[in-house]
Symmetry: D2
């Protein structure tokens, strides 16, 4: 908290029983950089109003739809400066466009859009706008992820050869979508999620994270997607082989039918001089394994932590930070960028929130996986 | 966040370079239940004002001393409803008294006071006041600690026999207090910390936590305190044996000279039917070991989590929460109690923040440890 | 140790500086079921004789070549009853044939042979012989692997959907084969290893283990093999996607260039009702994760251990057994089978040592991986 | 296995259903250094004979009592050169004396004796004999324990300040001794175990190990022993505080009523420059935590392993060794010493098996714990 006036924030989606809306609100609050003052919190007007009231919003700034919200907020002197978009995937693009056109900065959940066409158009809109576009691929906000990225880009691991990414969950092991679980419903519905199921919901996180950490560009991929639960319309397990420019190779596994895995995103990266390993469920640790030396366990805030990690840390080593703090790191970096937009300040080179281009890369990844799988796991270029 | 108006909060101590002040401020923000609007942030007026400005406080409510703050805030219609006291230990008692006398609710860091006499007097003041007194023995705010407590009080472990508590750190392995480290300076200064060094700073956390989790009352203890670093005036390592009413026995180890330990608070409890194990650095996990059955790893938000744990949880299993969220849980329970004070609402029986009596027990523990150690580890009753 | 006369054992290969020969000898000794009395321990006669002397063998039974050994031992009344073949891969087939033809039981290291043609012929020879053929895919000898297999075949995990197998090592991260490291030399030499490098040396272990544990038959695979170290002639990293009969899918990763991994074979298996996870480096543990219940950590010899695991266990829970004991379990099961051959006793249905057919499956796996990789990871049927 | 003739070994105790007898026999076999040829395997003659037959011993060398065995074996040209004594504690002294008097080397299980008086006399007998006395405090045989010892004695951790030793088990959580469990019966019987229960059975292991690893001499201790299970005659839980010469302090906890703990011996040692941590159930790992640097995980056979560890290792890193291999290391060191006795060879300075003096120290430790506990945990000098 810097003592500066909090940024005026609005929200689209994130009504009462939405998981990710609550996460965005906490993330916005943790460092005191935002004040939530407006919302179009549901596509159902009654629910939108009830959710606004539950959050203590001014009823006059609780909107029934995001188009109205974008226009009216842009017209106010005290209108919102940023909007968080936390709807199902298919609504990201129209909502984002509405605010970008009004010059309002957008903080949007992932994946960027439900279709590649939407993603490509949204990139154009974002690039044509002065407003900022921040994509909450939140796992890039973890301090030890940033430290790993620094280690790799500085050459500490040598030439990267092999990347192993995995993101298993188990919550869709049974047909949860028929049990009135709204989270499961829209995530298994092609109309709202897009053509990717678990590969879009979480595979794209793993892909974003490995790209962010290694800096590698993906050349092509071969994917084998499955829907194991009878009646499910989208994939619930994805096996992907990756080829990167420069010769590195990778594997990526995402699953929502792997009992015992809650949110087990894990990245392992091996180069000619050493390896690293990071697991989201135990995010304060980072293994560094220089070849031929003893293994080292680096800890957030501990003796082996870098300046990069320290910048995104609120507590000393041994005081664990988690998912919400990592999410808040993106919000706080976004705040720094939003303020810099208005003041003209130069942004620190350490600020690394994902952008609309990272979002496009994610949708391209989903699209390529679906295409490859339909073609019997043929290699598809990205 | 419930949509209710945030509670107006002030702070005493917690100026620019204080670790715990920043922690309290984040904890107060996470669930949106408080708004920080006033402060006496340092005993040095210039620093107090600079710290207030850095936090964006109204200069008119940035006070040079806490007595003035208590009087003036109590006189305002929009005065603070609660104050967070985050000074060095020896100032807890006078500051708390100043606000309690004005009927302002107090949220106070631990240990309660620097001396047993101060603690006993503060208990009287608190009991004579309508205002609430919440002690931030923050580790009791972890969801899996609450779940463990429920498991034990429900008899799942049978009769408790053995308690092993430990809280090692390493940051005072060398004479950090001579390096202008303010955290180290006051924590090794009897005038500001009281007679206990590491036993007061962290041993008291371990003692509080084992008492909270088991419900056991300590009958007597035998303590062997050491100051290993030359020139240090307070203990930096404490070995304690415990005898509980009803026959259970325990050991408690706290240290600030154990290299490799950052903040390694850990509690293990064994009964006639099973055991549990919880470690603060990996707080989303709880081992339950029913005798004669396979070991079970319970996870916050996971399949084995209880309702009690769920009540204090913001994210699903596998999305790790940490130190700040646990701290926020106490703040949010305090908010519920503060609101209940004004509305007369009945407080949920699940609300379990530590009180001034827990604070007194902690100071009695410190006092008994120091006394026992001076008498060659004789048994001292509590 | 049963009090019966030890089986008379010979050895081919395994001279002074061979790793795996020493392992076989210890495995044969642990339960006292064998007595090593003859050997052709090296293809270099001087080394063969020196190695025999170092092992205390009778010089009259230290042979210069395995053909002579097979003939002369078969002619003795006190000739060997079994031979352990621990040469480089390309010599397995001729050595095994020599002993099988004499009716001497063969205990052979893996992979079965260096070529598919050799493997197919060896199967015929073995099937035509009364002698037993035991292949030391030693990881199947671990008690918790057997327990996992029982759990799966009994249906505890429901229908198997996903198998994740991995076997990373790091010892070939650099060009160790040019440093006069004999282990590295022959393992990277197509003439002695066959067409598979790491996929043959260790990938085949992972494949054998997943097949053994799940009982799944592989339908086809898609493999992407790499040689990362300049000048290396065989693969040192292998990415494989698997399709099983019945619809399950799998991934298999083996690598010898993954710094920080010593011998990190790990198998994870997920079905419609639960999952299991087992890691070779911590072999006394087995995770069982029934869907919707708390995770369970089963331990060898502990409360959750099965009768199957107990049968292969020498010490109580908490007294760790390791690689050599698992290896010894195969030797001891082999002893039971060898004795049953002579006595006509019925073998326990719990005896599960790998056979020549498992060896053939392994060589087919290697062959398919190499073929698929040459065809740009096309799907190859097995 | 060195190619030398195996040492002729006898055994006293260790009949059919004895756990530790089987362990000694495997330990003697692993490296091929011993041949078991004689025994007085039970104090019940029928059982002694049946056990001998089951082990394949010559009936003529299966004795009904150890006195006869000592005399007759000593008289043979091919008599045993060493005897393993694996009886209940109270028989160690008379059996050991019988063989020492005949000049036969003794390998004796721990604790040395059931009483301090017996221990002192046995020291005299052993010192008066040419024969060797090896005490199987087997945990000192683990390679990473040896490496830790080297690290400490070389000063890598600086001055040792704090030692935390613990050895919890759970198998006596209920009154197992009334269930015809012979292991439980004699271990809870003062007449056969001596005055210490769990403190003698396992606490003495922890004490031996911490003494071995640190080289510290214990000055005094304060112990609080409990018998939690109704009707139990010996302690089943022990809390001990330790003071070492030179100022270091320690805690030791041993328990047999701690559900979830199988054989969880763990030692943590902290000095002015760093710490180490080793756990018996995961013995291939050793944490080294130099102060102010990243934590390091050393592995047996891995990049951080020392020569000392390598000397006692049979397999490369990642191929786990366990309890039996550590036990075998003592047997193999004993073999080296026994051979040196006859040949006059100079023993390597790396040979470190425990001796009768370590055994005396262990019995003194038990005695002091019992005495201290009876005096309300008064400090007792050793």
């Amino acid at each position: 908290m810097t003592g500066q006036r909090p940024i005026r924030l609005g929200m689209v989606g994130g009504g009462n029983d939405a998981f990710i809306g609550a996460v965005h609100r906490i993330a916005a609050r943790i460092d005191g950089e935002y004040s939530l003052i407006a919302g179009a919190l549901s596509s159902t007007p009654e629910k939108a109003r009830a959710s606004g009231a539950a959050l203590g919003l001014d009823p006059g700034r609780t909107y029934d739809d995001f188009e109205t919200m974008a226009v009216l907020e842009a017209a106010r002197d005290d209108g919102i400066e940023a909007v968080a978009i936390v709807t199902p995937n298919h609504m990201h693009a129209p909502a984002a466009r509405a605010f970008l056109k009004q010059g309002i900065n957008v903080i949007c959940d992932k994946p960027l859009t439900a279709t590649l066409k939407d993603a490509q158009e949204l990139v154009k809109t974002a690039e044509a706008s002065d407003a900022l576009f921040i994509l909450t691929h939140n796992y890039t906000g973890y301090p030890m992820v940033r430290q790993a990225r620094d280690m790799i880009t500085s050459g500490l691991l040598g030439d990267i050869r092999v990347v192993q990414a995995e993101y298993p969950q188990d919550w869709l092991t049974e047909a949860e979508e028929v049990n009135e679980n709204k989270q499961a419903e829209w995530r298994t519905d092609p109309a709202r999620s897009g053509a990717g199921g678990c590969v879009g919901d979480i595979g794209t996180h793993a892909f974003n994270l490995l790209s962010f950490m290694t800096g590698l560009e993906t050349e092509s991929l071969s994917a084998d997607l499955q829907s194991f639960v009878p009646g499910r319309r989208l994939d619930d397990n994805a096996h992907v082989m990756l080829r990167f420019k420069g010769g590195a190779r990778g594997m990526l596994w995402s699953s929502q039918v792997a009992p015992g895995n809650e949110n087990a995103l894990k990245i392992r990266i091996y180069g000619s001089k050493g390896g690293i390993e990071w697991a989201q469920e135990d995010p304060n640790y980072l293994w560094h394994t220089p070849f031929g030396e003893a293994k080292r366990l680096l800890t957030r805030g501990g003796a082996g932590a870098s300046q990069t990690a320290a910048r995104l840390t609120r507590t000393p080593g041994g005081h664990p930070e988690g998912y919400l703090e990592a999410f808040a790191n993106l919000y706080t970096e976004a705040a720094e960028a939003i303020r810099a937009r208005y003041t003209g300040a130069v942004l620190s080179p350490d600020v690394h929130f994902p952008t609309v281009l990272d979002g496009l890369a994610g949708v391209q990844f989903i699209d390529a996986c679906v295409k490859s799988s339909r073609e019997n796991a043929a290699w598809v270029s990205i």
